[in-house]
């Protein structure tokens, strides 16, 4: 069994990552083109003495006919005002442009980097005054100041480099500062500090590695700016007179009437050369920024991202009326319940897929359950179990890239998945409403809470007068324990618990028959959680609402739900009445989950975790999704997906162990855990 959960990932080294960045840079057309253009320029600069047909710095004897001579085999790009070969000047000019570009950019980067890191890392008045200083430099017109300084200090190459560098650091400083600020606040920096690390260590080991790639990308852009500025200065006659640069060439060409002489060859080639280098660096810089800019806010839900987020272009929310996948065995329709009326809501064999570059990924694979009037059921599962996807699919609210490929959602006898959008909208919210996960952050911050509740009422009951709507909104808020006075307040003045109450009031706006609460109390304190759960229970009693509670918390479910649907890897592992489920769990996953969950009333029970991790959508086991972590796994589980076997007492479980006629293995206790503790790979 151990082999199933062996570590699969190969050893990875940091160089692998660096190589990966270069690779993805070249794979981008922008990056490949830009890099090639820049490399050509660098090669020309280095090889200038070899490839240039003449030495433009050598004094030569010329006649009048040699000035502005048209292109000829001897002078491919003609000659300039001195009778020198334009091509050779152009080639040698590359050197000056690149030297100025790289040196000035290095200076700018050094100043900008230091200012940005100090301002971002130290913060406080030092950071503030550094940034004001930066702002000051930012608003000075660079060119005007450069002209003044060069005019005073003299147009030597060194002065030009210094002036361009000393004025070009502001954007870098701002960029580096914001990056440093965000890195400084990250948890791993905090952890390093908790270890006892000093500022120098943190800067060197944690901040710089995150900031440098960004600076590299920025440097390429600064180079192109510097080259452009050097050309500008040279063009207006402030270039180093002893050197040949592109700007210088243009300056002389204009100054010595190349235009009137019709000598386009003295003007266009240096202009194109400038365009070439600037375009190359800009392309490269933009591509580098895309590749290297670390997606700093990498979310902790990476595992889930595999499904919903990596989307194919053009894949949009489709009205999910596609025919069910043909070859699937129809799942046994939910267990008939003796004496109960027709269920209010019935999910039948729901199948949901998400697009991914490697083909569709199945997030929900044949989920069925019923909800009766006034009943509260719990949809329980860990992250990636498909519980949230199931409820989103029921309301046809799947994110782009996700679609229902099979099944029915019968609400009062009508299939929600087949309704025309207009009718669906009428049902959604007014009869079937949802309180989303993290909903307390879903209130509009610039409108009062009362307004937002009133809006929900108006949308579905347009005939209602203004005053009546306001009164109804206040009544709803009272009902969830928010005094009418607070209705005129903005959401930011509410605490987390109150915002969640407001969201429940919103959900109640149209007297729904069913309320779906997706992790309604996650991230709330236990006392607030108790308040919210009690509120939901009271409301469903008073208003006769049925509730679907989606959660990972077995405690909440045990306390509040009549029936529990346990989900794992996109299927229903087990469904039973709550008290039966907790007393006698049938599916090994339910058993293991309960064994791992702390229970305040049984503090002496030793808790046991489940080895391994929940399966990823892109790596779903072919058989039972729980097989790789199951202590009772046998051959059949690996090959075949167990259907839901109906059991007594309106229960069912998707496990071959409960299949009628299956002989229970006798020696189950020894196979308690398939792997050593650590290998939750």
């Amino acid at each position: 069994m151990t082999a199933l959960v062996e570590i699969q990932a190969p050893a990875t080294t940091p160089t692998y990552v660096a190589r990966g960045a270069l690779h993805s840079l070249i794979r981008r057309p922008m990056g490949a083109i830009g890099l090639t253009m820049l490399l050509v320029a660098v090669a020309v600069a280095i090889l200038a003495p070899v490839i240039a047909p003449y030495d433009p710095y050598k004094n030569i004897q010329v006649t009048v006919f040699d000035l502005y001579a048209a292109p000829s085999p001897a002078h491919l790009l003609g000659t300039d005002h001195r009778g020198h070969d334009v091509l050779s000047s152009l080639i040698y000019g590359t050197r000056v442009s690149l030297i100025v570009g790289f040196s000035a950019a290095s200076i700018a980067l050094l100043i900008g980097g230091v200012v940005g890191i100090v301002a971002g890392y130290r913060g406080g008045w030092i950071g503030a005054s550094l940034m004001r200083f930066t702002d000051f430099f930012l608003v000075i017109p660079d060119l005007a100041l450069q002209i003044v300084i060069i005019a005073i200090a003299g147009p030597s190459l060194l002065n030009i480099i210094l002036v361009i560098g000393a004025l070009g650091w502001t954007t870098t400083a701002r960029l580096v500062r914001s990056q440093t600020l965000s890195v400084r606040e990250r948890k791993f920096v905090m952890r390093a500090r908790a270890i006892g690390a000093g500022d120098l260590h943190i800067l060197r080991r944690h901040v710089l590695p995150q900031v440098l790639p960004l600076m590299l990308a920025n440097m390429v852009l600064v180079i192109s700016l510097a080259i452009l500025e050097e050309s500008t200065l040279a063009f207006i006659g402030l270039g180093d007179p002893t050197l040949i640069s592109w700007g210088q060439m243009l300056n002389f060409a204009f100054g010595r009437s190349a235009m009137s002489a019709g000598a386009w060859w003295a003007l266009i080639p240096p202009g194109l050369a400038i365009v070439w280098v600037v375009l190359g660096t800009t392309l490269l810089g933009t591509a580098l920024e895309e590749v290297l800019n670390p997606r700093l806010k990498r979310h902790h839900l990476e595992r889930e991202r595999v499904g919903p987020r990596r989307l194919l272009p053009g894949a949009r929310l489709r009205d999910a009326t596609a025919p069910p996948a043909g070859t699937r065995d129809p799942l046994p329709v939910s267990i008939p319940r003796e004496g109960s009326s027709v269920p209010l809501l019935s999910v039948r064999d729901l199948v949901v897929e998400f697009d991914s570059p490697t083909g569709p990924l199945r997030a929900v694979d044949g989920v069925s359950f019923d909800l009766r009037r006034g009943e509260t059921i719990g949809l329980v599962g860990e992250s990636g179990s498909g519980k949230t996807t199931t409820v989103l699919a029921m309301l046809r609210l799947l994110p782009p890239g996700g679609r229902v490929v099979g099944g029915q959602v019968l609400f009062d006898g009508e299939d929600l998945l087949a309704l025309p959008p207009a009718e669906l909208r009428a049902v959604r919210w007014s009869r079937l409403s949802i309180v989303f996960q993290g909903a307390m952050n879903a209130l509009n911050p610039v409108r009062t809470v009362g307004d937002q509740v009133a809006e929900a009422i108006r949308t579905h009951q347009p005939g209602m007068g203004r005053r009546a709507t306001a009164a109804r909104a206040a009544e709803l808020l009272e009902r969830v324990g928010i005094s009418g006075r607070r209705a005129r307040d903005y959401p930011h003045t509410y605490s987390g618990g109150m915002r969640q109450r407001a969201m429940i009031a919103l959900a109640l706006a149209c007297d729904p028959d069913v309320i779906i609460a997706d992790e309604p109390t996650t991230a709330l304190d236990v006392m607030i959680q108790a308040q919210i759960l009690e509120l939901l229970a009271r409301l469903s009693n008073e208003l006769g609402m049925a509730t679907i509670m989606v959660t990972h918390d077995l405690g909440v479910v045990g306390q509040r739900c009549d029936r529990v649907v346990v989900m794992y890897g996109g299927i229903v592992a087990e469904e039973a009445e709550a008290y039966r489920l907790y007393a006698h769990p049938q599916h090994p996953y339910t058993q293991a989950l309960l064994a791992s969950f702390p229970d305040l009333s049984h503090p002496d029970r030793k808790l046991v975790g489940i080895a391994g991790v929940p399966p990823r959508l892109d790596n779903m086991p072919p058989g039972c999704p729980f097989a790789p972590r199951c202590p009772h796994v046998f051959d059949r589980c690996l090959a075949e997906r167990p259907p839901a076997f109906p059991l007594s007492h309106e229960r069912r479980a998707s496990c071959f162990l409960v299949e009628p006629g299956h002989e229970r293995p006798t020696a189950t206790p020894d196979v308690a855990r398939p792997v050593a503790e650590g290998a939750d790979a």
């Binding site: 990875t12 270890i195 902790h300 045990g558 702390p598 503790e677």
Partner: protein, 352 residues
């Protein structure tokens, strides 16, 4: 066997005040800044090999307390004694030496690892910071030892991996390994499992428990989850608005809580047992703003059994024997409610 009677950590009267923010209007109206007292006179100790849980709702000051112990924040007042040595008044060098003994485990294993560092470097970082391992071989050996101690076996399989290649549980084990590399005597674990999948949590908590039992490493567990405390902690300290309101043996406190806040908190914890008989005491409202701590007993505005004296007298921690203490005036024979507390307000003892 380590000495189990000398505390590894003693905290006396720890206090932390954050200066209040004044808006421009406040300055114009000459309103004084309202300071926020996040930790208001907290005292406790941690014995070797003991798991002490600091429990409370958000805003009670438990995380600030942890940060104060690690020196991530300077304390306003109070003493922290680590391994018999006063932390205040030490030179930077001595402080760094002492700090090796206390390491922290953070809540979010997805955020607390540098995404560009392989596991080997993450675990070796504390050694480097403290200049502990003299040779590369020694460092390598200690990294491997720490990884295996944290349950990442064999260590070679993990040394070169980057955080994104690990599952949440494995990442938290790497964080624990990095904390263990310096062979500390105390781990401060701030909500160590709240970001992990339910099925992974027990393993991480079992690991912390076994570090305490087998290696004598004390754990100060900061958490909001009483169920976890009941299963894993030796002692519990319940905090409310910057104060410890009840402290004692975890089983005793949870079986027979003496402070009304502990009782209420205990009664609302959801229990995964639909048959459990419960009488939840749901407190109205929310924890008050720590910049406006109520007079007298800070819990009295929400207390179901508050009486006349409560708004006036700030109760001390009354010793109930066996290391159990609670800060409630009902435990003081000098204060008696004038009339017996109404049946509806009284907190009925929890059926076992």
């Amino acid at each position: 066997m380590p000495d189990r009677t000398t505390p590894v950590l003693e905290v006396h009267g720890l206090r932390k005040r954050f200066p209040g923010q004044r808006s421009l209007m406040d300055v114009i109206r000459r309103r004084p800044p309202r300071d926020v007292t996040a930790v208001d006179g907290v005292s406790f100790d941690v014995l070797p090999g003991e798991v002490l849980a600091l429990v409370g709702e958000s805003g009670c000051g438990k995380t600030t307390t942890g940060n104060l112990l690690l020196g991530l924040l300077p304390a306003t007042e109070g003493q922290v004694i680590l391994g018999g040595q006063h932390v205040g008044g030490l030179s930077h060098r001595e402080l760094l030496r002492l700090r090796r003994n206390v390491q922290m485990i953070f809540q979010d294993p997805y955020e607390s690892l540098n995404p560009r560092m392989p596991v080997r470097e993450i675990v070796a970082e504390p050694l480097r910071v403290h200049g502990v391992a003299r040779t590369a071989a020694e460092a390598e050996a200690r990294v491997r030892e720490a990884l295996e101690q944290a349950g990442l076996k064999p260590a070679e399989a993990y040394l070169h991996r980057l955080p994104f290649e690990l599952s949440g549980g494995q990442r938290q084990r790497v964080v624990i390994a990095a904390a263990l590399a310096l062979r500390p005597s105390l781990l401060v674990a701030d909500e160590p499992v709240s970001m992990l999948d339910v099925s992974i949590r027990a393993d991480i908590l079992n690991l912390l428990r076994s570090l305490a039992d087998e290696h004598g490493i004390s754990v100060l567990m900061i958490t909001h989850d009483l169920s976890t405390v009941a299963a894993y902690a030796d002692r519990i300290a319940v905090m409310y608005l910057g104060r410890i309101v009840e402290i004692g043996d975890a089983r005793t406190v949870l079986r027979d809580p003496q402070h009304p806040y502990t009782r209420a908190l205990r009664s609302v914890v959801p229990v995964p047992d639909p048959n459990a008989r419960r009488r939840p005491v749901i407190l109205a409202g929310e924890t008050p703003d720590p910049s406006r701590i109520p007079s007298g007993c800070r819990f009295h505005p929400r207390c179901p059994v508050a009486f006349e004296a409560c708004p006036q007298v700030d109760p001390r921690l009354y010793d109930l024997g066996g290391g159990h203490g609670a800060a409630c005036l009902l435990l003081d024979p000098d204060y008696r409610p004038a009339k017996p507390i109404s049946e509806s307000g009284a907190v009925a003892p929890e059926p076992a």
